[in-house]
Amino acid sequence: MTLLVLLSISIVVAAAVYLSLSRDLFRVVIGLTMLGAATNLIVFAAGRFATLTPPLLTTVEDAQAAAVANPLVQALVLTAIVISFALLCFALVLGARLRAQAGNDDVKQMHATEPVAWDSVKPPELEN
């Protein structure tokens, strides 16, 4: 079973990398989001999925039982989910703004900060 979970995580990573290598800005954003989702799954997997029982305690003795799910990775992943959601929202808005300014969503043409060199030795001049 774990093998299947690990396989699906690996597939998510592969798909995310493929998307983020795209020239389409929107696909890059989606790819980075998927990479975040994969990372969350990896962190969660590090805590192992040994049990169905959530870490809810009625007595102190419950804590000693190893049958409780790992609460630490859950807390970490919970934080990470919220942050990657905020990042995705911002990235979507930024992408839309970039597209509105550049007129297209081709990542390859977005090199305003790194102009194409016109001389083999001298650095290129920046447009304003």
Binding site: M1, I9, I11, R48, F49, T59, A66, Q74, L78, F85
Partner: protein, 753 residues
């Protein structure tokens, strides 16, 4: 009066008074030498925490250099006050000369290797400024750059040698290192030390194959050429080699390298002197030749060689500096240094001619000159050792060329029919005549009155060869020396008579210009910029996807390297037992959802479809969380996926229709698959080691008694790690704050259009 005039007026002040500084130092030094016994030591703290102190140690060898630096320096200052009288940049020139003198004094007085290195590099730097002094001349700039690259590059090698020496011996003191004995000789790092030391000294003293920078450095003003590039700075390599000679004298590597490189340099530079037409460049080639001879003499294993080194070094400074002054006078008066045009100047420039003849007598090593004394001890040094025959012939050739060069400077330029172009040429001012005459006369006087210099020079030789029984310097006029000098003189004069023929033959060898060391060096530099340009073009192409791809590939290669190198233990990969589940079906459904979303993503192009596809991955993850004991995480994930639909609905219209750009899909797919496989290997390794639950258990046991919360995850978020959660909320708030103005401008733009 214009601003420019004011500047010229201001800088054209008479600079002669500045000669008081070196002359004062010289007189003080001579007095101190007669009054206070050597060696002089002084230790001052500088950076005590690093063990770097301003430690000075002046023995006879240092003192000899100090005498040269201040003595020749005085003459150079007097000469320069005449030479630069009409130069608007004279102030800058004198500043550089003063700085240079300070740096030279520092090098030869320093005992701490790092302090020595500091001053050593300073001399290279000032040499750069002086060679490029006529900065409007492109040739001068190129020469200055070349000299800087070579001498500073050598300086780096020297620094490495010093660091190794300090590591081996445990001290930075030059004296202590030279005296350290067998532990230094027997260290396995010694060959590396010697090689680095050689590179440092050979670059500075223009030895083969670094010899070419010195003739090019002749674009410096003549006073600087006389001072830096013949009398003092280029002898620093010799100075350092002489310093280390007592420690390494017995080594075969030391002996073979110095004799070999010294001979090659001396002979090769002498040959190249015949190719030159420029008087200063001829002198520069013969300086390189003399430096080669000095290196060869240091390499000689016997003790007489020490005296020969000292005497020849002193003699060379005393005849080469005046000859440079003579070349400068001729250049100043006629406007040319080409020996094609220079002839018959004896009537117009009689005093310059006298100086040239006096200096040339010493250079040719005629009796009654200090050069003869030097020749005498050099002959003695050679006779005391079984020198290879080829080296002897080489030296004979080198000395003959020296005679021929001396004859060119003293006879060819001044005798013969007068050149009508120079009818209005006048003798230069006394400031430019006194220095060459005085130094040349001193060169002659030392032979006649050896009592003044003998003690210092003999003491200096004892520094190089402490065990030797060194007699005095006064030439004994032995028959052997006389025969040698006569032999050299005859061959030299024959070479002088056939100078034109030899020159024409050698100048015809065009291959030397294409494959010589200088050409190779320039090609190396050009290649370096080409490689840099290619590298920039290939790696910094401005293509974001390309950067991403490169980063990923490098990361994967590192991972692969670590895996292959065995840093990651792969033995437990399949051996570990996998945990079993009761919720098998639910988890299976989750993995199917996740995989389906991920597998579909690369093939989906519509914006909304793509959002739905990653929604599959998100909901799949939520299911996974739900059935792995993490309901809180699952609910958060569900909510995020739902809110995302609202956000996407607001933003998606701004993206318009997707376009399918041409891109290297197969390559991208290969990188992606490799990343997936790497992830799987990583995860498999993670699962093959037991999970460390100690932190999880700490939180679980302390949640109820300390934070009074039953939901451990919530307690961690809002209590134990509350600051983390605060940060998370801040990130959400900031992203909203940052997105807001972006959205507003877009809305405005749409309204206006």
């Amino acid at each position: 009066m214009s601003h420019a005039d004011a500047r010229v007026g201001a800088t054209n002040r008479d600079m002669l008074w500045l000669a008081l500084i070196p002359s004062g130092l010289f007189i003080g030094l001579v007095w101190a030498l007669s009054a206070i016994a050597l060696p002089w030591q002084l230790q001052l703290d500088w950076v005590p925490s690093l063990g770097v102190g301003l430690d000075w140690y002046i023995d006879a060898l240092s003192a000899q250099f100090l005498v040269l630096i201040t003595g020749i320096g005085t003459m150079v200052f007097i000469y320069a006050s005449g030479y630069m009288a009409h130069d608007a940049n004279a102030g800058r020139f004198f500043l550089l000369l003063l700085l240079f003198m300070t740096a030279m004094v520092g090098v030869v007085s320093a005992d701490h290797l790092l302090v020595l290195f500091l001053f050593w590099e300073l001399t290279s730097l000032i040499s750069f400024f002086l060679v490029g002094f006529k900065h409007t001349d492109e040739q001068a700039r190129a020469s200055a750059r070349q000299a800087l690259f070579i001498t500073l590059g050598g300086g780096l090698a020297l620094l490495a040698a010093f660091i190794l020496l300090a590591q081996i011996t445990g001290t930075w003191s030059l004296q202590a290192i030279v005296a350290s004995g067998p532990e230094l000789i027997e260290d396995p790092r010694l060959p590396a030390v010697l090689m680095l030391l050689f590179i440092g000294c050979f670059t500075k003293s223009a030895q083969f194959p670094f010899h070419f920078w010195l003739p090019n450095a002749m674009s410096a003003p003549t006073p600087a050429s006389a001072y830096l590039h013949s009398a003092t700075m280029v002898k620093l390599g010799i100075y350092l080699l002489a310093r280390f000679d007592p420690a390494f004298n017995e080594l075969l590597l030391w002996e073979v390298s110095l004799i070999g490189i010294g001979t090659i340099t001396a002979v090769w530079a002498a040959l190249l002197a015949l190719r030159e037409r420029d008087l200063k460049r001829i002198l520069a080639r013969s300086t390189v030749s003399a430096l080669g001879t000095l290196v060869l003499l240091i390499g000689l294993p016997n003790e007489e060689a020490a005296l020969a080194v000292i005497a020849f070094l002193f003699a060379h400074a005393l005849y080469k500096a005046p000859l440079f002054f003579v070349a400068g006078n001729i250049d100043h008066a006629t406007g040319t240094r080409s020996i094609d045009h220079l002839m018959g100047l004896r009537r117009q420039m009689p005093f310059t001619m006298v100086a040239a003849i006096l200096a040339s007598l010493s250079m040719a090593g005629l009796p009654l000159s200090f050069g003869y004394v030097a020749k005498d001890v050099v002959t003695t040094a050679k006779s005391g050792t079984d020198l290879l025959q080829i080296v002897s012939y080489g030296l004979l050739f080198v000395n003959s060329i020296a005679v021929a060069v001396a004859a060119v400077a003293a006879i060819r330029v001044f005798w013969g029919p007068a050149n009508p172009a120079f009818a209005r040429v006048r003798e230069v001012s006394w400031r430019m005549l006194l220095p060459p005459l005085l130094i040349a006369i001193v060169g002659l006087e030392f032979e006649l009155m050896p009592a003044f210099t003998d003690p210092l020079l003999v003491d200096a030789a004892r520094v190089i060869a402490p065990a030797a029984d060194i007699g005095d310097l006064s030439a004994d006029h032995s028959i052997a020396t006389f025969v040698t000098v006569a032999e050299v003189l005859v061959i030299g004069l024959v070479l002088f008579l056939f100078w034109e023929q030899l020159h024409r033959y050698l100048a015809g060898l065009a291959r030397l210009d294409h494959y010589g060391c200088a050409a190779l060096f320039e090609r190396l530099l050009a290649g370096l910029t080409r490689v840099a340009a290619w590298h920039t073009k290939t790696l910094q192409h401005g293509n974001l996807s390309g950067y991403m791809r490169l980063t990923l590939v490098v990361l994967l290669l590192f991972g692969l390297g670590a895996w292959l190198a065995g840093d990651v233990d792969g033995s437990g990969l399949w051996a570990s037992s996998w945990p079993a589940y009761e919720q098998g079906w639910a988890l299976l459904a989750a993995t199917v959802l996740i995989s389906a979303g991920a597998l579909a993503a690369p093939f989906v192009y519509g914006r909304l479809a793509l959002l739905m596809v990653i929604g599959l991955v998100g909901y799949g993850s939520a299911v996974l969380f739900l059935f792995a004991g993490a309901p809180d995480v699952a609910f958060t994930q569900f909510m995020v996926e739902t809110v995302l639909v609202v956000v996407a609905a607001a933003v998606l219209p701004h993206y318009g229709a997707p376009s399918r750009y041409p891109e290297p899909r197969l390559l991208n797919a290969a990188v992606a698959v490799a990343a997936g496989i790497a992830t799987f290997i990583l995860l498999a390794h993670m699962f093959s080691v037991p999970s460390d639950r100690s932190l999880a258990e700490w939180f679980a046991t302390n949640s109820l008694p300390e934070a009074h919360g039953r939901n451990v995850v919530n307690v961690i978020l809002v209590d134990f790690r509350a600051l983390d959660t605060f940060g998370e909320i801040a990130v959400v708030a900031f992203s909203a704050l940052a997105a807001w103005p972006l959205l507003r401008t877009m809305r405005k733009r749409r309204r206006t259009s």
